[in-house]
Structures are given as structure tokens and as C-alpha cells.
Amino acid sequence: MTAADVSAPAAARRMQLRAGRGWLALPTTGFLVAVLIVPLVLIGLYSVDLMTNLVGVPTGFSVANWSEFLPPGDNVFFNRFETSILITLLVSVLAVLGAYPIAYFLAFVARRRRYTLLMLVLAPFFTSYLLRVIAWKVVLDNNGVVNSALWQLGLRHHGDGISWLIYSWFSVALVLFYSWVPFVALPIYVVLENLDTRLLEAAQDLGGGRLHVFRRITLPLSLPGVIAAFVFVLIPTTGEFIAPLLVGGPGSYMFGNSIQSFFSETPNWNYGAVLAVWLIAIVLVLLVLFGRFLSAGFKEARA
């Protein structure tokens, strides 16, 4: 329904009827200011020592925690941030690479059953994240399914587990990849599904081989979905701390674990607040860089 296909007076009357309902957005706005914006401001105040949870400690503006955290200097938490963001980027790239053929298969090969097959891929994503991580713990653990299967098959000595299988960066990255791959297939699938296939036929008629058509037409046209998918993994994974707690170890803790431990294991919330503000800043930078691809993804999904 567009404005053009109704008569002008009807459109004007309708506009008048619809004008007054904007106030309905107010309750949610107020609610989110109270439970999200105010807490973010408080974290900011904590990070510069204008507030503190420590009783009897005087407050006053100070950037001492910031100058200790930020380079130059060898700060253990900044180093953890760097490793963590590298793992996050790696997982995001792998999830997109792993999901692309799935989306391609669903859009171009699966034909009639595509919707059922899409649900088959997506369904695990809608089950408990925590339970999926625990399931992987059972699979990868030192006495777990993989190791004990190798012992039973005589491929390894009994009791001699593969050391990097769990409590390592491998297990953390594997579990994150596993969790995101089904979801990431969705935005890519939507873009491929809406692709004008006449372009592909035209390119082939003009003598392009299949790989050539894919590289020159399909892939470039699907990039908005690919980048949206990449950001869908990237942003939530920057603050991840659950998978490292269950299948990682102190050596494979992520930046989110640092924040978590400052607030739940130490009284030093002010330093933890510095890390939290830093994480939010990184997310904002990522949004500025990639935000327009996200809204393109939403628009595609709506179309």
C-alpha cells in the first residue's frame, strides 16, 4: 500500500488519525533509559573514579585506571583484549565461510524443501545456549566422547587424551563457531534468495563459466548479507564469557571473563568499569564501521 494509490483526502484523514500515537513509544523509552542508559552512565562514572562501591574510599576524578589499562605499557587485560578480539574475528570469519555454502545450497539447490531444511539448520540455535556448551563439554572432555572413542578404537593409549581438545582456544572457538553458524546462514540466505537470477543466466549466456559467474555476479551481490552475518557474530562475541568458563581455561579466557571476574570476584569495580567502557567503545566503533550493512540486512530481511 503506497500513498499514490489512495485518494488525497482519504490519505490526509488517515494521516490525521495516525498522528497522535507516538506517545506509545514513551514507556519503553523511559524503561530503557532507567535500566540501560543510567547504568551505562554509572559505569562511565566508575571508570574515572567519580563513584565507587568501596565504603569509605573518597571519590574524585582520576584517569589512573585508564592510564594503567591503555598502551603504552604491558597490561595483562589489554593483552587479553587483543587476543580475545583476534579470536572473535577468526570465529566471525569462519562462521560466515561455514554458513555461505549452506545459504547457497538452500537458495539455489534445495528447491521445494528449502523452508523445512532451513528450519532444520536453525532449530539448534533456538535451544539453550548454555546446554549446547555443556553438550560440547561432554564431547570434548578429557574422558569425553572423542577421547574415549579414540581409546576404544585403540588409536591412542587409554587415559592419554588430546590435550588441546578442551580448556583451550580450540574448544572455545569451536563452540562459538558451532553456536553461530546456523544463525549466520540466515542473512546470507535472504540475500541470495532475493537475487535476480536473470543476471546469472545473462552472464552465463554471455559465456561466463559457473565459477566465473559466482565470482563476478553472485558473490559481489551477496556481500551485504555476508557483512551483516559477520557483524551478527562479531558484536555479541566481543563480550562473550560463558563458553570460556565451561570449555576454556584461564589460558583461554576472553575479555568478557576479565570484566566478569572484576565484578564478581574482586571489590575493584572501578577497574572493571574501565574494561566495560572499553568494550562498549569497541562495539560502538564496530557499529559505526558496519552499522549501515546491518540496516541493509534488516531491510533485505523485511523485503
Partner: protein, 270 residues
């Protein structure tokens, strides 16, 4: 379509798809298989079949209380997020809305704020107000993260409605509220149902925020599950309850999606 993939390409893509589906379901199957394993350590060879862990899980009072807490918080979250999502979605369809960009950005913000940051922020807020961790704080956090999903589900549905029938009702003398209740609301029931289901699921499974905000001794179900998974004596029970929850949620997701598709198809045909 032969342009997109040749015979070999189709075979490779099909095999990859099958392999990925196996990869996605293997851990879930493993969890279900070991929930019947007669051993406290999940290892091969399989020690024997038992339903003991289900019985001990369902007679574990702490676990049952935790599930009850999460069910109540989840239901309230479903109600709260859907109500807020509905009002916001209707508000966003207004022709004139002051600061529309700011309002839209604010209501979608919870999608991008890391849960750990939101949680420590709420912890600081409680502390500043002189309050302690509480289940209502967990609920508020859950509603905050569920609201954007409700809006993203309800808003597109509202936008596809034919506003002429609402206008017709108003022409026939219905007040704005009556027209909304009698015309708009019945047409968006499937979206409201999806919104409530998603909000309940988000809340029921939410660990990150809850882990910071639950009071001691009043764990929600995911917080209890997390602690149990790290306690060898409790792990078999956790795996048993986990198997039940995973199978149940796979069934519910599939059934709900099938129902929603049918309902929306009926509404668009009508």
C-alpha cells in the same frame, strides 16, 4: 537451477549441507544419549541404560525451585516485553514522532550492548540505590534484552496491515482504542504469540545477566545448571534435565513455527 551449480557442485553442496547438519545435531544427540548412561562420568564405553538421573533430577528440590523461578520470570518477561514491544511498535508507526531516530536507536540498543556490560551496569545501579541482588532485577534485565526482539517481530506485521480496514472501522464510529482492539489486535495475534514465545525463551535460558543479579540461594534455572555442570556429583542430573529441555524446545520451536506459518497464511488469504 543449473546456472548456480552444476552436477558436481550440487553434490558437493548437498554433502556439505548434510555434514553440517550432523555437526549441529551430534552434541545434542550425545547429551540425550548420556542422559541415560548409568555412570557419573560421561565416557565410552557406555556403562548401561538407566532412567535414574531423570528421577533424581526431578526429585531435586533445588533444581525444581530454580526451574519454577525461571518459569515465572520467563512468563512475566514474555508479558512485559510483548506489552512494551506492542506499544512501541504502534508508537513507531505514528506519522510524526519527535526524535524518531533517537527512539529507534534506543529501543534497538539492547541488541548490541554486551550482556556482561548491561549486567555490571545494573549491578552498579542496584548498589548505588542501596539495593541488593534480586529476582526482580533479573526480570528487568531480561525484559530490556527481549524488548527489541518483540518490536522487530510486531512492527513488520503492523506495517503489512491494511490500514483501510482500521479507517473503515473509525468511519463507522469506532474510537481509536475500539478499532485497535477489534480490528488491529486480532490480526497481529500470531506476531504477539511469537513475541511472547521468543521473550520467554530468551529469559528462561539467560545466564549472563542472571549470574550477576540473582540473590544467593535463589538461583534461576540457567545459573543452577551452570553451577551443576561444574559439580561432578550434580552433572548427570544436569545432563538429564538438559536432555529434556533440548528435546522439548526442539519440539516447541518446530510446532510453533508450523502453527505460525499456518496462521499467517490463513490471515493473508482471508
Amino acid at each position: 537451477m543449473t546456472v548456480a551449480a552444476g552436477r558436481l557442485g550440487r553434490a558437493l553442496l548437498g554433502s556439505y549441507f548434510a555434514a553440517l547438519v550432523v555437526f549441529l545435531y551430534v552434541p545434542l544427540v550425545v547429551l540425550v544419549v548420556f542422559s541415560f548412561d548409568d555412570s557419573t562420568i560421561q565416557t565410552l564405553p557406555y556403562s548401561g541404560f538407566t532412567t535414574h538421573w531423570f528421577r533424581s533430577a526431578f526429585s531435586n528440590g533445588d533444581l525444581i525451585s530454580a526451574i519454577e523461578r525461571s518459569a515465572v520470570i520467563g512468563a512475566l518477561c514474555a508479558l512485559g516485553a510483548t506489552l512494551l514491544g506492542l506499544t512501541t511498535a504502534v508508537g513507531l508507526t505514528a506519522r510524526k514522532l519527535a526524535l524518531r531516530g533517537v527512539v529507534t536507536a534506543l529501543v534497538l540498543l539492547p541488541l548490541v550492548v554486551p550482556y556482561v556490560v548491561l549486567a555490571v551496569g545494573m549491578l552498579i545501579l542496584l548498589n548505588s540505590l542501596g539495593l541488593h541482588q534480586a529476582l526482580w532485577a533479573v526480570l528487568l534485565g531480561h525484559v530490556a534484552v527481549a524488548v527489541p526482539y518483540s518490536i522487530l517481530i510486531i512492527l513488520p506485521r503492523l506495517r503489512t496491515l491494511d490500514e483501510d480496514i482500521v479507517d473503515a472501522a473509525r468511519d463507522l464510529g469506532a474510537s481509536g482504542f475500539v478499532a485497535f482492539r477489534r480490528i488491529t489486535l486480532p490480526l497481529i495475534v500470531p506476531a504477539l504469540f511469537s513475541s511472547a514465545l521468543i521473550a520467554f525463551t530468551i529469559s528462561f535460558d539467560e545466564f549472563a545477566i542472571a549470574s550477576f543479579l540473582v540473590p544467593a540461594g535463589k538461583e534461576t534455572y540457567p545459573v543452577y545448571v551452570y553451577a551443576g555442570a561444574r559439580t561432578p556429583a550434580l552433572e548427570p542430573q544436569i545432563i538429564a534435565i538438559g536432555a529434556v529441555v533440548i528435546v522439548a524446545s526442539l519440539v516447541i520451536v518446530t510446532a510453533a513455527e508450523a502453527l505460525r506459518l499456518r496462521a499467517e497464511r490463513r490471515l493473508t488469504q482471508a
